[in-house]
């Protein structure tokens, strides 16, 4: 399973423009990150909060619904978060011009 985890992280990391891959618990604990420990912790703190807030919004709009993916587009980056009730997969990308 450790091998699967490392393979998955390597595969995602090798995609074009990917800056970091981080896997978190829903509380923001860092399971694995390709960023520095400090950055990983920051991602954990901020993105677990984002996931909670976004999840609350989804639930309030439709009590039967559930958040599964969040994508934030900024001028310089794209942040993608795939999540379920327990874990978050965070990929930070710098979009490349073709």
């Amino acid at each position: 399973n450790h091998i699967d985890l490392d393979e998955t992280i390597n595969r995602l990391s090798s995609k074009k423009g990917v800056e970091s891959v981080t896997i978190l618990t829903k509380e923001g604990g860092v399971i694995r990150t390709t960023a520095t420990a400090e950055q990983g912790e920051l991602h954990g703190k901020l993105l677990s909060k984002l996931a909670r807030d976004a999840g609350d919004i989804v639930e309030q709009l439709d009590g039967q619904d559930e958040l599964s993916f969040v994508r934030i587009r900024t001028k310089r980056h794209e942040v993608m978060v795939a999540l379920d009730q327990d874990y978050l997969l965070v990929v930070i990308q710098t979009p490349q011009k073709d």
């Binding site: 399973n1 450790h2 699967d4 985890l5 998955t8 595969r11 995602l12 995609k15 074009k16 423009g17 990917v18 896997i23 618990t25 509380e27 923001g28 604990g29 860092v30 399971i31 912790e41 954990g44 703190k45 677990s48 599964s68 993916f69 994508r71 587009r73 794209e78 993608m80 795939a82 999540l83 379920d84 327990d86 874990y87 978050l88 997969l89 990929v91 990308q93 979009p95």
Partner: protein, 60 residues
């Protein structure tokens, strides 16, 4: 306070091992990585590339 919160989020090696070794986590990793991978592979910048969004990628 912030320091204490950071400590609370920090996982012990035992916790980490338990998570990574669980079927629950493997299932998550499999699903989540496929979603992200697809998003990365079909990436185009919707904020500038309107023409391409119209021309192709209507597969959904």
């Amino acid at each position: 306070e912030a320091q204490r919160e950071a400590e609370a989020r920090r996982l012990t090696d035992t916790q980490l091992g338990g998570i990574v070794g669980s079927a629950r986590f493997s299932g998550f990793l499999d699903r989540a990585s496929r979603v992200v991978e697809r998003a990365l592979d079909t990436d185009y910048d919707v904020t500038v590339d309107y023409a391409r969004a119209q021309a192709g990628d209507a597969s959904d």
